[in-house]
């Protein structure tokens, strides 16, 4: 379904134009902020802020490239999902840490609630990209001065990860057939490859990932 849709989109260039558009915003920010910094003598603090912001945009460009690479592999049937036991708590903690600068710039507070460590049998890189795509989108597109709460619990043989934010409604387009956003489409492939489910409600986005063959580790 996804493959057919993307092939069709690629044929009429809509998808390609969208990818070009995704590259333009970080490039615009990099160019604009560097020009701003060079325009006159700036304080050390201002230059530091510009550099941190630039680093964040370079990371964003790197994520776009990673998404493109993964999408190509999924599309061509070359993707080998390498599942191995991973600590999902550590993974999410690292991702939140990666978004520290961006969330600070937007006055967004991210809290992670975890009762106990949960291990999954999953492809760590794929899940990293999945959560980078989802959290990055909320931080960039959501309102400034807001809170994001990430909650992880184990229910039966599933790890349920909930992302709570009042603007989570922006993810409704995630399920849209028309959506050609690169990150969203890669995320769909990743969810499918892990037999994971995604549900969007008014204020939360819930991802349930199966915990397979890891009962001993989790119990």
């Amino acid at each position: 379904m996804i493959k057919r849709k993307l092939h069709s989109a690629l044929c009429d260039n809509v998808f390609l134009h969208h990818i070009i558009h995704e590259f333009r915003n970080p490039l615009t920010i990099l160019k604009g902020e560097i020009e701003f910094a060079l325009k006159k003598n700036r304080s050390k603090k201002t230059l530091e802020t510009v550099l941190l912001s630039n680093l964040d945009e370079v990371n964003r460009l790197a994520l776009i490239v990673e998404n493109l690479s993964l999408l190509t592999k999924f599309e061509n049937g070359e993707m080998i999902v390498q599942k191995r036991p991973i600590n999902i708590n550590n993974l999410i903690n690292n991702i939140i840490e990666n978004f520290k600068t961006l969330s600070l710039q937007n006055n967004i507070e991210i809290n992670f609630i975890q009762k106990k460590k949960i291990f999954l049998n999953a492809d760590e890189n794929c899940l990293r990209i999945l959560f980078m795509n989802l959290l990055g989108e909320i931080i960039r597109r959501g309102p400034k001065k807001s809170n994001i709460l990430v909650n992880i619990i184990k229910i039966n043989n599933f790890a349920l990860i909930k992302i709570l934010n009042k603007e989570i409604i922006i993810f409704k387009e995630f399920l849209s057939i028309k959506n050609v956003n690169l990150g969203f489409n890669v995320s769909k492939y990743i969810l499918k490859a892990h037999n994971a489910k995604l549900k969007i409600e008014d204020t939360n986005l819930a991802i349930s990932l199966p915990i397979s063959n890891l009962k001993k580790i989790n119990n």
Binding site: H17, R24, T28, K31, G32, E35, F36, S53
Partner: protein
């Protein structure tokens, strides 16, 4: 001059705002089309220019542009977008935009296009503000009194322009903080008073007839 930036990418909006403020413009930001429409229409005289992205949430830029033109709101609009195909530019201009700039852009080009749009707007309306013998040229940013040029800083110029556009009316500190400083800072700080004094020294200091008056407890008025 007050500009409204309608852009959902916060960091793009942020550097445009900072860059324009350094040039003496007052800038507001809306992160979606609905807020942009509300701000641009609640008081149609509020903004001299709208800078608008096309792909924005709630109401997209093209729809917003058309809607505003249908509502007879003629504030100039500069479209700022990632779409660079000829047909995209044509669609943008046909929807009622005055100009179109593709991302990523050079900030100097954005400034030049803003100046060109405002020049065009001013030639259709007014290019000079005059209160008594005090004259402010909106195109060259020259300020003259009794045929002598008065050199002002960017902030002083913006402050004087605001006073002259509201000559004869009391201008409160809150109004100044919103329109000239573009922030709603604590009006108990004396930043505004300090700048008004700088301006007063320059425009009234050497002249017998004083124009800038303090209205105690309320604000200031520029009058003959």
């Amino acid at each position: 001059m007050r500009i409204l930036v309608v852009e959902d990418e916060k960091k793009v909006a942020n550097f445009i705002k900072r860059g324009l403020k350094e040039e003496g413009y007052a800038v507001d930001v809306a992160n979606d089309g609905e807020t942009g429409h509300y701000l641009a229409t609640i008081n149609v005289k509020e903004y001299d220019l709208l800078i608008m992205d096309i792909m924005i949430p709630k109401i997209d830029g093209l729809t917003l542009c058309k809607k505003m033109r249908e509502e007879k709101i003629n504030t100039p609009i500069l479209m700022l977008t990632g779409k660079d195909a000829v047909k995209d530019k044509v669609t943008g201009l046909d929807s009622g935009a005055d100009d179109y700039l593709t991302k990523p852009f050079a900030f100097e080009e954005l400034l030049a296009r803003i100046r060109a749009i405002l020049r065009k707007k001013e030639t259709q309306t007014v290019t000079k503000l005059k209160v008594g013998d005090l004259e402010l040229d909106l195109l060259t940013h020259k300020v003259m009194r009794e045929k002598s040029e008065i050199k002002l800083t960017t902030k002083e110029y913006a402050l004087l322009e605001y006073f002259m556009r509201n000559s004869g009316n009391v201008v409160t500190r809150t109004m100044i903080s919103e329109h000239v400083w573009d922030i709603n800072f604590d009006t108990y700080t004396n930043v505004i008073d300090v700048y008004v004094n700088y301006l007063r020294t320059k425009i009234d200091g050497n002249y017998k007839k004083k124009m800038l008056h303090t209205i105690r407890g309320r604000g200031y008025v520029l009058k003959l």
